[in-house]
């Protein structure tokens, strides 16, 4: 069961990722990204991260991506025009990326210690309780710093986007 779910979700994630790269229209790309995020959320559940899976959907898919789609709709962004192509990027890009993935695959195979596979339910430290305890004890300072960061981001966004009143 775990294997089947993993295979389905990873195939969806990779297909949506490829679609994101290939689609010319930003809305299609945005929805492919939502597909990637949704399947990753299921994988997080398999890895025992119930809270992080919910946060992935609520924050990423439900808020950040809606913001993207909102901006795409607001600017009425059309498909990319078929302009000049950078031929060297098309020529060397795919082989280089393939080499990158193969190198990482080799590193994973060579360096990762042998261990039993991932099974759903073996690790439950990612429950809301576990995350809450961690955040408010070990990671209290980073948590507060991040909240200041997001406050700054809100102010910055307002300053950048507001209409100047003369």
């Amino acid at each position: 069961m775990d294997l089947i779910i993993f295979l389905i979700c990873s195939v969806i994630a990779v297909a949506c990722g490829i679609n994101l790269v290939l689609q010319k229209h930003p809305i299609s790309a945005a929805l492919s990204l939502v597909g990637v995020m949704g399947s990753l959320a299921v994988l997080y559940l398999l890895l025992g991260g119930a809270f992080i899976a919910a946060a992935q959907i609520i924050v990423y898919a439900g808020a950040v991506m809606v913001l993207f789609i909102f901006v795409i709709m607001l600017l009425n962004a059309g498909a990319e025009p078929a302009g000049r192509k950078r031929s060297y990027a098309r020529l060397f890009g795919p082989p280089l990326l393939a080499i990158f993935v193969l190198l990482i695959a080799y590193a994973i195979q060579a360096r990762l210690p042998r261990s039993e596979g991932v099974q759903f339910g073996r690790f439950t430290g990612g429950s809301p309780e576990g995350i809450g305890i961690k955040v408010f004890t070990d990671y209290l300072l980073p948590f507060e710093v991040v909240s200041v960061l997001i406050l700054i981001a809100i102010l910055g966004a307002i300053v950048l986007a507001h209409k100047e009143i003369r």
Partner: protein, 104 residues
């Protein structure tokens, strides 16, 4: 390998593939919004490895890291989209190649 379990390396490999796709989108696409979304894809790929390592080490720390990544991504999206709006307001274009006045 038992029938009902997935090797951890597969998760890491999936993460690497998604990261590579994010890099590809970042380099090839010329619409600012799509480039921005490619960055989000890379962040997501990294999150997946954090959560996978967290499972391997049986510690929730990786989850906290990915939580922070999400928060930073949300902040980045807010500021980045505001910048995109401003660029569009001033130049009526979303092509990164056409926003080049700082180049010369």
């Amino acid at each position: 390998m038992q029938a009902n379990s997935v090797p951890l390396s597969w998760y890491l490999l999936l993460s690497a593939i998604l990261f590579a796709l994010g890099v590809a989108g970042f380099i090839w696409r010329r619409n600012i919004i799509t480039v921005f979304m490619s960055i989000e894809l890379m962040l997501n790929a990294v999150n997946l490895s954090f959560v996978a390592f967290s499972y391997q080490l049986r510690q929730a720390d990786g989850h906290i890291f990915s939580l922070f990544v999400m928060v930073v991504a949300a902040a980045e999206a807010a500021v980045g989209l505001a910048i995109i709006l401003t660029v569009f307001k001033n130049r009526q274009t979303l092509e990164i190649d056409e926003v080049e006045s700082m180049k010369y």
